[in-house]
Every structure is written in structure tokens, then in C-alpha cells.
């Protein structure tokens, strides 16, 4: 039988029982609409959740390096710059910002207040959403080595409750010296992101802080993965870069220790090598946040999957039922067609075509109904309305599969009828 004949025959048969055909189509419409709506709603809700979790710094990877044996400030600066570049080149990593932290204090009349100083580069600003200077500016490239400061919102409020901080000089007691910092900006209040309290810091140029405190401190790097899904992969890539780098540094240090560290540094290097089994670096991701995120996506997917499966199953059973009834009703027709030369596969295809027409019609209508209800849902739920191409294809493809799957048994049964028996059927 030609494809055109199959389609014509299927449509004619369905037209003969319009109500019945409409009800079978409705079963599929409901199934597919449920799938499409759920996919769309979950996509919307997931997008919203993703944005929220991303705000929590899920993409952030914290790298601590402990250069126990590196002595000179110049060596520390070189290491920092080199390592930053190498880490930034790692796969799945979009941004690396070196930071250094130091504690200081400032005297307010008779009292003294402790301060957390964070040495950062200008890129620090790009690690967080909606983190920008409310007044003045953030640290620029040209500020390297300059004694300037940008205040977190809480610090600004505490130190300058009445005045505009920008342009003021803040004298900080730091590493046994009194250092005057000129305030050039105040950041917007951003609160806590992950484990970072952005509002409590005094931000200064990294090179300035390294110059003031010397190089004994470990250095921290904050890296950002390209997206929430690749955090673990980015962390692994970073570990790889660190391992390679430190193997090279260690090898070189062992070959010509004095060239690398100087006399005293060499002793310290070997002492560290003997006494410390600890890794010279650590890489930390926000596991809890990642797990929460992945868990919610899993749950959503599971809900989606069950709804899809159940509703399509119900629709499919409806199709099978209708097709079985149809085969019995048309036993004589099958006999007639066989008598005039229909092969088994012609009969089978005829009934499959009917099931397929029902399911595709239901699939397309269901797609429309599903999108409509997803759109309404997004209005009520206040999440973004997300239309995806692939769920649409999946839904229509799935309904076709349901048609073929559940139509197959009745169709094969029809095709196996004995022509003479079928002709005698009353």
C-alpha cells in the first residue's frame, strides 16, 4: 500500500467514528500537554533556581597556596602572576583572581576597630553579580602599589557614619606600621555570598598588601567555573595545573636550591619537605551548594519523568483499547481486503497509520495546550516562561512512539487474521 493510501484510509476510518477518534486524540493531548507543560515549568523553575544558586557563588572555587619556602616579596609577586595566568588557562575556568587577606586595625578616637583587609585585583569585581561601587570607584590596574582603599558597606557605615568616606584618609595599623590609605570608593551592600562576607572588607590593591606584609603569607586565588555544571571539572583541571607547577618548582629547587631561595630559604625548603606531608596547596569548591543544586535538578527531572511516563502510558493504553475495538469491528473489512490481495503488512500498516494519526494529532495539539498552560503557570509562579525546542520534538516524537508502540499489538493481531474466518465474521 502506498503511503498516500495509508493516510487516506486512516483518515477515512477515523472520520467514520469522529467522537471516538476525538476522545482518543484527547487522551494523547492530555498526556503530551502534561509533558510539555511540566518540561517548560521545570525549565523555568530551574532557570530561576540556577540564577539564585549562582548568586550564592556556586561557580566559585577557592585555591589556597602555601609557599612555605618562598622568601622574597618579588618571588611571591612573580609566583602570583604566573600562577594566575596558568590557572586562568585551565579548562572550564573563566576567571581567576588572586587575593591576599590581612588583619589590621584603625583607631576611632579612643577605641580601636579591627579590620579585614583584602588585597585584590580589579577582576575581583567580576566574581559576583550586582557587586559594584555605590560611591567613588573600585580598584584599577593603575592602583598597583598605591595606598588606596575601597570600603565594604558595613565598614563604611561603621567608620564614617556621617561623612562621605570617599577622599578621606584611613590610617591603618598593619604589620606593625601605621599606613595611610586614601579611600577611593564604597561598595554596594551585597551581604554574604556563599561563605564570603563582602560587606565587611576593606579592599586594597593586592600588590600594595603584598608589599606591606611581606611574602610569608599564603596566597588565595578565587577561580570561577564557566557554569554551575562544570565546577567539579574546573576544580579537577585546577588541581592538575597546580600539581604540574609545583612538581616543576620542587624539581628546580632541589637541583639548585640557592638559586631559587637563597641560603636561608634553601634550608627552610628542605625542612618543609622533610617535616610536612601536607600538600602545598588546596582546592575547595562549595560542595554543599553544588549538591543542593544537583539534588534539586534530579528531583525536578524525576517528577517530570514520572508525569511524562504516566500520562503518556494512560494515553497509550487508550489508543490500544480503541484500536482493539476497531480491529474487532472491522474484522470483515480485513477479510475483504485480504481477499482482494492485501498482504499482512498492508493490514498492519493500515491500523498503525490510524494509531499514528491519532497520536501525532494529539501530540501537536498537546504541544499547544502544554505551552499555553506553562505560560499561564509561569505567570502565577512568577518564573521565566521557557520554551525549548527539544522537549517539543521529544513530545511529538514520543507521542508517535506511543502510537506505534500501543498500536502495534492491535495492528499485528489484525494482520494475522485468517481471511476466510474474517469474511465469515458477523
Amino acid at each position: 500500500m502506498r503511503a498516500g493510501d495509508l493516510l487516506r484510509t486512516a483518515l477515512a476510518a477515523l472520520a467514520l467514528h469522529r467522537l471516538r477518534a476525538a476522545l482518543s486524540v484527547l487522551g494523547i493531548v492530555i498526556g503530551v500537554a502534561a509533558v510539555v507543560a511540566t518540561i517548560s515549568l521545570v525549565s523555568g523553575a530551574t532557570a530561576q533556581m540556577k540564577a539564585r544558586i549562582a548568586g550564592l557563588g556556586i561557580r566559585t572555587i577557592t585555591i589556597n597556596v602555601f609557599p612555605t619556602a618562598i622568601q622574597s616579596a618579588a618571588a611571591a609577586r612573580t609566583l602570583t602572576q604566573e600562577l594566575t595566568d596558568r590557572l586562568a588557562a585551565a579548562e572550564h575556568v573563566s576567571l581567576v583572581v588572586p587575593i591576599a587577606q590581612s588583619r589590621g586595625s584603625v583607631s576611632l578616637g579612643t577605641q580601636s576597630r579591627d579590620l579585614s583587609l583584602l588585597g585584590v585585583t580589579p577582576d575581583y569585581l567580576h566574581l559576583f553579580d550586582k557587586f559594584y561601587p555605590l560611591a567613588g570607584r573600585f580598584i584599577h590596574e593603575l592602583d598597583a602599589g598605591q595606598k588606596i582603599a575601597v570600603l565594604g558597606a558595613n565598614v563604611a557605615r561603621d567608620l564614617f557614619p556621617l561623612d562621605d568616606p570617599v577622599g578621606q584618609v584611613l590610617t591603618v595599623e598593619l604589620a606593625g606600621q601605621k599606613v595611610p590609605f586614601r579611600v577611593v570608593g564604597v561598595m554596594v551592600a551585597r551581604g554574604t555570598i556563599g561563605n564570603q562576607t563582602l560587606d565587611d572588607y576593606v579592599y586594597v590593591p593586592l600588590s600594595t598588601l603584598q608589599g606591606l606584609t611581606g611574602s610569608r603569607q599564603f596566597t588565595t586565588y578565587i577561580a570561577q567555573a564557566v557554569d554551575a555544571e562544570s565546577v567539579e571539572k574546573a576544580a579537577a583541571a585546577i588541581e592538575g595545573v597546580l600539581a604540574a607547577t609545583f612538581a616543576a618548582v620542587t624539581a628546580q629547587a632541589q637541583a639548585t636550591p640557592t638559586a631559587v631561595f637563597g641560603q636561608r630559604g634553601t634550608a627552610a625548603f628542605f625542612a618543609a619537605g622533610r617535616t610536612s606531608r601536607l600538600s602545598p596547596y588546596s582546592v575547595t569548591v562549595q560542595k554543599a551548594v553544588i549538591e543542593t543544586y544537583e539534588e534539586s535538578v534530579r528531583t525536578m527531572t524525576l517528577i517530570l519523568g514520572s508525569v511524562a511516563a504516566i500520562s503518556l502510558l494512560v494515553g497509550g493504553i487508550g489508543i490500544m483499547n480503541i484500536m482493539l475495538v476497531s480491529v474487532v469491528e472491522r474484522t470483515r473489512e480485513i477479510g475483504i481486503r485480504m481477499a482482494v490481495g492485501a498482504r499482512r503488512r498492508d493490514i498492519r500498516n493500515q491500523f498503525l497509520a490510524e494509531a499514528l494519526v491519532i497520536c501525532l494529532l494529539g501530540g501537536l495539539l498537546g504541544l499547544g495546550v502544554g505551552w499555553l498552560s506553562a505560560w499561564l503557570g509561569s505567570l502565577f509562579g512568577r518564573w521565566p516562561f521557557v520554551i525549548r525546542g527539544y522537549p517539543a520534538l521529544v513530545a511529538v516524537g514520543f507521542s508517535a512512539l506511543v502510537g506505534l508502540g500501543f498500536g502495534l499489538y492491535p495492528a499485528v493481531r489484525a494482520s494475522r487474521l485468517d481471511p476466510v474466518e474474517a469474511l465469515r465474521y458477523e
Binding site: 500500500m1 481477499a339 490481495g341
Partner: protein, 229 residues
Amino acid sequence: MNPLVELRKVVKDYPMGATSFRALRGVDLAVGEGEFLAITGPSGSGKSTLLHLMGALHRPTQGQVLFEGQDLAELSVDELARLRNAKIGFVFQQFHLLARLTAWENVALPMVYARVHPAARRERALAALARVGLSAFAHHRPNQLSGGQQQRVAIARALVNNPKLLLADEPTGNLDTRTGQEIVELFVSLHGEGRTVVIVSHEPEIAARAERIVILRDGLVQEERRARG
């Protein structure tokens, strides 16, 4: 005359629960090319069974059915379907038309399975309807036609793929005597055009229009005789 269909020691059992019923008990019969044969006999004697075997709708339990010398046992189910489609035309007592199709669409049905191009079907169907004198009713549905007209549509359908063998099982059984006579005359004239015709009937005056009569009784050929002089 070369035999078009030949039955050799054909036995046909129908399963009846645990046992089976033997409807044909060893029939030898040959139908020559261009012959007009009537099969007659009492109800339940196995006439329809015999016709179904000749028409490749059934396979024998024992014995052989040969069509143009080809043993049908060697053909697959699909090959039997193709044989029915191309070389055999059936006409049934109950007409067996599809109610939702018009006359010409019913006639076109065998062409659907012969994969005749849709554009060519209509013309051929109308020609077949013209042959049986029903040109004016091409767009009528079966329920808008009399019994005799419905049987003519069924004959047109049997003719449309230009088969070698025309098989008719009690084609006048549901018709009044006069209409039945007309249908029989149609078969006589189709035979006159060179077609092989086998007609089953328990009415002697219809069987008498054939060239040869085979009388069945209890699944065996009881008697064969010449008719029409």
C-alpha cells in the same frame, strides 16, 4: 486445455475444539483455462471450502493445489496475497463491499494493493463498472444500491485487475430469481470473453449455464457432467 487450477487428493480439516471436522475428503479436480465450471451440491458438502482452496484463501490440510502448475504450498502468505490480487477475482454471496466507500472506490480496492498509481485507478474502475452496466452509479454507496447492483459492483471489483480466474460463491443466493438470472448471464458473457469462471450454486438452473458441473457430497466429488450441450 491446460489446467489453470488443479486439486490433487485435497483434504481440508477444520479444527473443532480438540478434534477436527473433515470438510473435504480427497478431492481431485482440474479447471481448464477458459473453462466455465459450476460446483453444486447440498449445503455443507464443502463447496465454499473447495472454492477458497482454489482461490488461495486457504491451504489444504493434505494434498496439493496447483495454480498454473505452481504448488501453492511453496508460496508464502504474502505471495498468496499477491496471487489473489493479480490473478483471482472473488465474488461472494454477501457482496462484501466496504460500506463507507463509493461504488468506484470499492472497485478500485484491488488496485490499491496492486500499487496502481492513484491517478490511473479511477479510469480503470469506471471501465469495470461500465462492463457490468453500472456507469451511472459510480458515486453511490452500497446502501444506495439494490442487491443486484451491489453484486455487479462486486463483480466489477473482481474484474478490475484483469484476473485469469473468476470465483463466485453463491453469487445469486441473496438475489431474487430474475436478478439472479441477470447476474448469471453476466458471468456467461464474461466467460465468453475468454475468462475462466468457477461458480458455486445449489440452484440447478444456474449450474446448468456452465460448461461442466461438479456435484459435491460430504466432501467428495460425487458426479461430474457436461452441461450446455
